[in-house]
C-alpha cells in the first residue's frame, strides 16, 4: 500500500467507524428524551423503563463517538497537513461552532446521566433534550465543513494559497444545505429503524411486549418520518450535485457519454475501460429528470472530464445503488408504519421485517458516505487541491492504518459484546413479563 492509499484508508476507516457512533449518539438522546417526556406526562412507568434502557446505550455510544471524534480532529493534521494548512482557517468556523455545541452536549450528558435525583424532573428532562439538540446541531456543523470540500467557497485561490478568506461564505457553501439535510435524515432513519428492530426482536421473543411496542412506536415516529422525507432530500441533493460536481454525478450514475435523455440505471457495474455499463437496467430519460427535472435535458457524462480527474466509477456507482435501494425500501416501510399505527395493529411479518432492517440504515449511511467521499476524488478540495498533494510526508502510513484497524475492530467487538450483554440483561429482567 503506498502512503496516499494508506492515509486514505485510515481516514476512511476512522470516519466510517465514527459516523455510526456519531449517528447513534446524535439520535438516541432524542428518542430517549421522547420516552422521558412521555413518562413525565403520562406517569406510565414503562416509559421510564425505556428511558433508562436507552440511556445506557446513549452513554456507551456517546463515549465511543467522543473518543473516535477526538481521533479524527487529530487525524485531520496527522494525515492531511497539506489540506489543513490552507483549509483550517477557511472552514474553521463550522468546526469552532461544532466544538461549542459538542462541549454543551458533553456537559449536558453528564447532567442527564448522573442527575436523576439531583434536579427537578423537568429540569432534568431539559438536560437530556439538550444532549439531543446540541448533538444534532454539532452534526450539522461537521457536515457543513464537508460540504465545503465538495463546493469550496469563501476564498480566492492564487498561486497555491488562499486569499481574501471569508469564513461565513465558506460555511454556507453551496453544498452545506443538501448535505446536512440528507445526513441528518439518514441518521434519524438509520437509528430509528435499528432501535425499532431491536425492540421488535425482543417483542417477537415474547418479552415485555407492551413495553417493546411502545419503544417501536417512539423509534419509528422519528425513523419512519425521516425515511419518508429522505427520497425528496435525496432528489434535492442529486440536483445540487449535478450542478456542482458533474463528474461525481456521472460517476454515481455510471454515465459515460454526454447526451440528452440520459438513462438511470438500476443495478449494473460500470466498466471504466470500455466506458459502458454492464448488466444495468436503463430507465431512459430518468437521470435527466433527476438532475434537471426534465427528461430531455442534456447531462454531462464522464467524457467531459479529463480521465485523471475521474473518481473510481464502479465503487461510487455500486455504493450509490445500495444507498438508493435501501432508502426506497425504508421509505416504503416508513409509510407502512404509519398505516399500521393508524390501524393500531402491527402484523407479525412487519415486525420480522423490522428485525431484518436493523443494519440496513447503517449500511446506507456508509454507502452514502462512500459516494460523497470517493465521488469527490481525486480532489480533497473540489477543483482546488488534489488529495495526493495534501497527504502527510511522514512515511509508513500503512502502520498507522493497521494500528487503527486493530484498535477499532477491537472496540467494535467490545461494543457489540456489551450490547449483547445489555440485551441479555433486559431479557432476564423481563423473563416473566409477557
Amino acid at each position: 500500500m503506498d502512503n496516499l492509499i494508506a492515509a486514505r484508508a485510515t481516514m476512511g476507516f476512522s470516519l466510517g467507524f465514527h459516523i455510526i457512533f456519531a449517528a447513534i449518539g446524535m439520535v438516541m438522546p432524542l428518542l430517549m428524551s421522547a420516552a422521558h417526556y412521555l413518562f413525565l406526562k403520562k406517569k406510565d412507568p414503562a416509559y421510564l423503563e425505556l428511558t433508562k434502557m436507552w440511556l445506557k446505550g446513549v452513554a456507551i455510544f456517546f463515549a465511543v463517538g467522543a473518543v473516535s471524534g477526538t481521533v479524527l480532529s487529530f487525524e485531520l493534521g496527522l494525515l492531511w497537513p497539506g489540506f489543513m494548512k490552507h483549509a483550517g482557517p477557511i472552514i474553521g468556523m463550522p468546526f469552532s461552532w461544532e466544538g461549542t455545541a459538542f462541549f454543551l452536549e458533553a456537559v449536558a450528558i453528564g447532567l442527564f446521566l448522573y442527575g436523576w435525583k439531583r434536579m427537578k424532573p423537568w429540569v432534568h428532562w431539559c438536560t437530556g433534550l439538550t444532549v439531543g439538540i446540541s448533538g444534532f446541531v454539532s452534526g450539522i456543523f461537521v457536515v457543513a465543513a464537508n460540504g465545503w470540500m465538495n463546493a469550496p467557497a469563501g476564498f480566492d485561490w492564487i498561486d497555491g494559497a488562499a486569499h481574501n478568506v471569508d469564513p461565513v461564505k465558506a460555511m454556507f457553501n453551496r453544498a452545506w444545505l443538501h448535505e446536512t439535510i440528507h445526513m441528518q435524515l439518514a441518521a434519524l432513519q438509520a437509528v430509528g429503524f435499528a432501535v425499532a428492530g431491536i425492540h421488535a426482536f425482543l417483542y417477537l421473543r415474547g418479552r415485555a411486549q407492551a413495553l417493546n411496542l411502545k419503544a417501536i412506536k417512539i423509534a419509528l415516529v422519528f425513523g419512519a418520518s425521516a425515511a419518508i422525507a429522505q427520497p425528496f432530500a435525496g432528489h434535492f441533493a442529486g440536483q445540487r450535485v449535478a450542478e456542482l460536481q458533474p463528474a461525481k454525478l456521472a460517476a454515481l450514475e455510471g454515465h459515460f457519454k454526454t447526451g440528452p435523455r440520459a438513462p438511470l440505471y438500476i443495478g449494473g457495474i460500470p466498466d471504466e475501460d470500455t466506458q459502458t455499463m454492464r448488466w444495468g437496467i436503463p430507465l431512459p430519460g430518468m437521470l435527466s429528470f433527476i438532475a434537471f427535472n426534465d427528461v430531455d435535458a442534456v447531462v454531462a457524462g464522464l467524457d467531459q472530464v479529463p480521465r485523471e480527474d475521474w473518481p473510481h466509477v464502479a465503487i461510487v456507482h455500486v455504493s450509490f445503488q445500495i444507498m438508493v435501494a435501501i432508502g426506497m425500501v425504508m421509505a416504503l416501510s416508513g409509510v407502512l408504519f404509519f398505516v399500521f399505527l393508524k390501524r393500531r395493529i402491527f402484523p407479525h411479518w412487519y415486525l420480522c421485517l423490522l428485525v431484518l432492517f436493523i443494519p440496513l440504515g447503517m449500511i446506507a449511511i456508509e454507502a452514502g458516505w462512500i459516494v460523497t467521499e470517493v465521488g469527490r476524488q481525486p480532489w480533497i478540495i473540489h477543483g482546488i487541491m488534489r488529495t495526493k498533494d495534501a497527504v502527510t510526508p511522514v512515511p509508513g502510513m500503512v502502520y498507522h492504518f493497521y494500528l487503527f484497524l486493530v484498535l477499532y475492530l477491537l472496540l467494535w467487538c467490545v461494543t457489540g459484546w456489551l450490547f449483547h450483554r445489555q440485551i441479555q440483561a433486559v431479557q432476564k429482567k423481563f423473563e416473566d413479563v409477557p
Partner: protein, 338 residues
C-alpha cells in the same frame, strides 16, 4: 484579536490540566494496590468523574480546534514532526475513555470484566499523561525539523531523550497528585480519605523528584530550558511560589476544607504552567529553522474575528452550563442515582 485567542488556548490548557488531569490521575491511582478499598475507591472515582469527564476532555479538543483554525502552520508542523507521540496519545485517549465508560455501563457487572476495565483504564491513563508530557516537552526544544533528511531526524529526534521522558513522568505525577488532593473530599469515608491523603503526599514527593529530574536532564542534554529559566525572573518567581504553596497545602489538608485544598493545589499547578508559558511566550514551537510565533502564524483577520465570536458566544453557553454542572454534583446532599 490574536491575544484573545492565545488567552483561550492558555486558559483551555490550564483547565485541561486541572480538570482533565485529575481524571487521568484518578486512573493512575487505581493502578496502585488498593486491597479491600478497591471497590469503594472505584465507586468514589465513578461518582466523581462520571458526570464531568466528557466535559473535561473537551478542553483538549478546544485546543486542537483553535490551533488548526487560528494557527494552521503550528498545528500542521506538530502533527508532522510529532506524528508518533500524537498517535500514542490518541490510542491512550480512546482506550481510557471507553474503558471508563464501559466499566460503569456494562449491563452485567462481574469481577473479571470489571478488573479488566479498571486495569485498562489505569494503564491508559498513565500512558496518555506520559505522552502528553513528552509532546509538551518537545514543543520548545528546537529539535523539530521539517526539512530533515532521515526518518530519525524528522520523526524521532524531536521527542527523543531523557528530558522529554522526565517531563512525561513529571506530568503523570502532577496529574496523580491533583487527583489525590481532589478525591480526598469526594468521600465521607475517613479511612478512604486517609488513603487519598497518603496518595497525594506520595505523588507530591514524586512531583518534586521528577521536577528535579526534568531540570537535571535538561542540563545534561543541553536543552534551552535552564538558560531560559535563569533569564526569566517571572518564571523563577512562579516556580518558587508553587513550591512554597506545598507548605501551605499540607497545613490546609488536615482542615478538611474541600474548596481551599483544591484552590491551593490547583494554584500550584497553575503557577507551574504559567512559569512554563512565560519561558517561551509568544513563541509556540521551536524548530531547527527557528521559532513559530503565535502572532506571525495567525490566520487571516476574518478567520480570527469569527473564531473570537465563536469563543465568546460559546463561553456564554458553556461557562453557565459548567457552573450548573458543578453546582448540581458538588452539593453533597443527594446521592446520584442512575
Amino acid at each position: 484579536m490574536t491575544d484573545i485567542i492565545v488567552f483561550f488556548i492558555g486558559a483551555s490548557l490550564l483547565l485541561y490540566v486541572l480538570l482533565g488531569g485529575s481524571d487521568y490521575g484518578a486512573g493512575i491511582i487505581e493502578l496502585l494496590p488498593a486491597g479491600t478499598f478497591r471497590e469503594k475507591q472505584k465507586h468514589v472515582i465513578n461518582e466523581a468523574m462520571g458526570p464531568v469527564w466528557e466535559a473535561n476532555h473537551m478542553w483538549l479538543i478546544l485546543i486542537v480546534v483553535i490551533l488548526f483554525v487560528a494557527f494552521p502552520t503550528i498545528f500542521t508542523t506538530l502533527m508532522i514532526a510529532l506524528h508518533l507521540p500524537m498517535l500514542a496519545l490518541l490510542v491512550g485517549i480512546v482506550v481510557r475513555g471507553t474503558a471508563f465508560t464501559f466499566r460503569h455501563y456494562d449491563a452485567i457487572q462481574e469481577p473479571r470484566s470489571q478488573r479488566a476495565y479498571t486495569l485498562l483504564f489505569g494503564v491508559s491513563s498513565l500512558w496518555t499523561s506520559f505522552w502528553l508530557g513528552i509532546i509538551v516537552a518537545s514543543l520548545n526544544r528546537g529539535t523539530i525539523n521539517l526539512e530533515a533528511a532521515t526518518f530519525w531526524d524528522a520523526y524521532i529526534a524531536p521527542w527523543w531523550g531523557v528530558y522529554p521522558l522526565s517531563v512525561g513522568l513529571f506530568v503523570a505525577s502532577i496529574f496523580a497528585f491533583l487527583a489525590g488532593v481532589y478525591l480526598i473530599s469526594e468521600t465521607d469515608d475517613a479511612a478512604l480519605q486517609r488513603r487519598f491523603t497518603r496518595h497525594a503526599a506520595v505523588f507530591n514527593a514524586l512531583v518534586i523528584v521528577s521536577g528535579g529530574l526534568v531540570f537535571a536532564a535538561s542540563f545534561i542534554e543541553r536543552e534551552s530550558l535552564p538558560s531560559r529559566f535563569f533569564r526569566t525572573p517571572s518564571t523563577i518567581a512562579a516556580m518558587a511560589l508553587a513550591t512554597l504553596l506545598f507548605v501551605v497545602l499540607w497545613r490546609v489538608i488536615p482542615k478538611r476544607n474541600a474548596l481551599l485544598t483544591r484552590v491551593v493545589a490547583g494554584g500550584q499547578v497553575a503557577l507551574i504552567l504559567l512559569g512554563w508559558w512565560l519561558l517561551y511566550a509568544p513563541d509556540a514551537v521551536h524548530t531547527v529553522q527557528g521559532p513559530l510565533n503565535f502572532y506571525q502564524e495567525a490566520a487571516p483577520h476574518a478567520t480570527m474575528l469569527q473564531l473570537v465570536i465563536a469563543l465568546l458566544v460559546g463561553s456564554l453557553f458553556i461557562f453557565p452550563s459548567l457552573f450548573f454542572l458543578l453546582r448540581v454534583f458538588k452539593s453533597k446532599q443527594h446521592p446520584s442515582g442512575d
